[in-house]
Amino acid sequence: MIEYNELEQKLVLKLVYYGPALSGKTTNLMQLHEALDTKGRSDLMVLDTKDDRTIFFDLLPFYFVTPTGLKIKVKVYTVPGHIRHDATRKAVLSRADGVAFIADSKLTEATNNYGSFENLEQNLAFVGLDIEKIPLVIQFNKRDLPDIVAEDEIKKVWEPTGIKIFMASALHGRGVLETFKCLVDLTYDHLDKRFSLGENHELSKEAFINNLTCSNCAYLAV
């Protein structure tokens, strides 16, 4: 986590959307921004550049206060996918509490997916995080496109690892919220072990998830 200030009763968490360039990380965040209630979340901050890709990163912050007065801020980041921004990726990844890996389902992107995942493993190790322990979900995006990797194949590869896999079409809002919910879910479990959120702060997992994903529109309905 970025910060835990006991005196101010404040917990700042970081979730990171990782993945190869143009796999739809920003689209995921934009859809979340659109879908979720404005209460308790800020505007999506997009630091983009002229060539349409996310050179720096996007940031979608959430904020709520538990009944016991613990202020919880969750900052959801995307990393720049382009290979040359590895230093930025490391900085964004540092002290992350959870990672959503957004893979590109297109057949032609298999190599890039693989390279990016390997890069994630390396950078997690670099910033002192254990890929085996950190909450991690994988989303195969762009399911609406032709020439994509078959779902059976994906499942065959990833199911044995125990990592949760989601099929999505971020552009159309499908699978976005499910991915995020699962990541938040896993993150709660991880945090609860350390901070006893449920016991000490009267924050149940449901409340935690609801606070971050209260959607009152049907936009993202599956």
């Binding site: 910060e3 630091l47 912050p61 490391k90 900085a91 540092s94 002290r95 002192g128 995080l129």
Partner: protein, 457 residues
């Protein structure tokens, strides 16, 4: 996530640190806005932190440093305005981080202030948004630049290590090239010297061959002459005896002449003279033959040779040197098998080492030449009772041009050439020398050249 990521310098490459209003806004940005609101008629305007403490304030605040408790209580209840004042909550990342507070002058309505404050609030939010964006950009830039910088430092470190390695390599390379060049130069000179020696040998062999024929008939004629002379003397003696008997009275005239011519002496001496000539001619013949054998001018390929015989030949060539120094040569030749090699070259080895030994001492010089077979090696040792070789120069003996003789006396090539020749026969030369006790050069020649010689102390 429990581990903090620290670099070597303790810089934390972290994106997402929390910011307060103090970090986001600065007086130069805020002041004009607050001044405008006061100008618009407000009694007091302030920007506060979440707890209501004034961060920036303008107007008449009567020494107040924070919001009145009543205002704060209202704010906590979600009431942000009454007839006298208004609060505008400021958010950063969805978190309330402060307020814009406006107090109306006593007795005046806030109404006419609302437009300007609305504008100021919007502007303030815009400034905050841009400021945050700029700070985030800077944050990421700094983080990634710091990281790249550290990576560059690391690369630089590695580069300088490898540069050092290569520089060292280049330096030693230069040194190696120099060494090789020197070696080549030496080898070249050695070849020249060897060629020179070879042509000297060729000349000697040619001269020997030319002398061989005349000395042949001189020797043969001298033998015949000795026989003739003996016959003549026999006849002359017979004449003298018979004439003395027959003509007793008139003897005097011939007897007088006979005595006057000292015929008796001539007869005795001429035989001795001829014998001496024969001995001399014989000696010349031997020398010439040795010289020819020694030079081995006709042998280019390896042949089976008798090492003991080669030593004999070499010693005879050096006979003059041996005699002039009254040196004693002790030969302890063992029963050794023949050795396959270049006789001319091997002789040169013996010659060079023997010559050194001969020059080691002027008086009472004793040189012991020994041959023996040790396992699969032939060992030829040439030991003198000279002054010995100082240990500090023993290692340099076989270096080309190394000499202890006066300038012009030695080439410094003798032992170097000997070493090369023996190496060429897969052999080795060992030196054992102590000051005052003489030197012993052992030439080890392997009988089976496939194996390197086993050297015994």
């Amino acid at each position: 996530m429990e581990t903090e990521v620290k670099t070597n310098d303790g810089i934390d490459f972290l994106v997402g640190v929390e910011m307060s209003l103090n970090d986001i806004l600065s007086a130069p940005e805020v002041d004009p806005l607050l001044a405008a609101i006061i100008k618009g008629g407000a009694e007091l305007v302030a920007i506060t932190d979440p707890k209501g403490r004034f961060l920036w304030a303008k107007g008449d605040r009567n020494g107040a440093r924070e919001l009145q408790p009543s205002v704060r209580q209202d704010a906590d209840k979600g009431r942000y305005e009454n007839a006298n004042w208004r609060l505008w909550p400021l958010y950063h990342e969805a978190e309330p981080i402060g307020f814009l507070f406006i107090l109306r002058p006593p007795g005046e309505s806030l109404c006419h202030l609302s437009h300007i404050t609305e504008m100021a609030f919007t502007t303030l939010n815009l400034i905050m948004k841009n400021s945050v964006k700029r700070m985030l950009t800077t944050e990421v830039h700094t983080a990634s630049i710091q990281q790249s910088y550290n990576e560059l430092l690391e690369i630089n470190k590695k580069l300088s290590i490898s540069e050092k390695k290569y520089r060292h390599l280049a330096q030693t390379l230069e040194q190696r090239v120099e060494e090789r060049t020197a070696e080549l130069k030496k080898a070249h000179t050695r070849l020249l010297q060897q060629e020179k020696m070879a042509s000297v040998g060729q000349l000697a062999a040619g001269v020997a061959h030319e002398i061989n024929t005349p000395i042949g008939f001189i020797y043969s004629n001298l033998n015949t002459l000795l026989k003739y002379m003996a016959t003549l003397i026999k006849m002359l003696k017979f004449y003298k005896k018979s004439s003395t008997v027959q003509t007793a009275g008139s003897l005097n005239e011939s007897e007088e002449l006979y005595n006057k011519l000292k015929i008796d002496f001539i007869m005795d001496d001429s035989l001795d003279l001829i014998q001496e000539n024969i001995d001399g001619a014989e000696k010349i013949k031997t020398i010439v033959a040795n010289l020819k054998d020694f030079s081995h001018i006709d042998d280019v390929s390896e042949i089976e040779m008798n090492i003991n015989q080669e030593l004999e030949n070499t010693i005879s060539v050096l006979l003059h040197e041996i005699k002039s120094r009254s040196a004693r040569i002790i030969k302890k030749f063992g029963r050794i098998p023949s050795f396959k090699g270049h006789p001319g070259l091997i002789s040169q080895v013996f010659f060079n080492i023997l010559l050194n030994a001969l020059q080691s001492k002027d008086k009472d010089l004793v040189i012991t030449v020994r041959t023996e077979q040790k396992m699969d090696d032939l060992v030829i040792s040439i030991a003198d009772n000279g002054p010995g070789i100082p240990s500090d120069i023993q290692g340099r003996l076989f270096e080309p041009f190394f000499t202890t003789k006066d300038v012009g006396q030695g080439t410094g090539m003798g032992l170097s050439i000997a070493y090369d020749i023996v190496s060429g026969h897969k052999g080795n030369i060992k030196v054992n020398s102590q000051i005052g006790e003489g030197s012993n050069f052992s030439i080890i020649l392997p009988l089976n050249k496939k194996y390197s010689p086993s050297v015994e102390g």
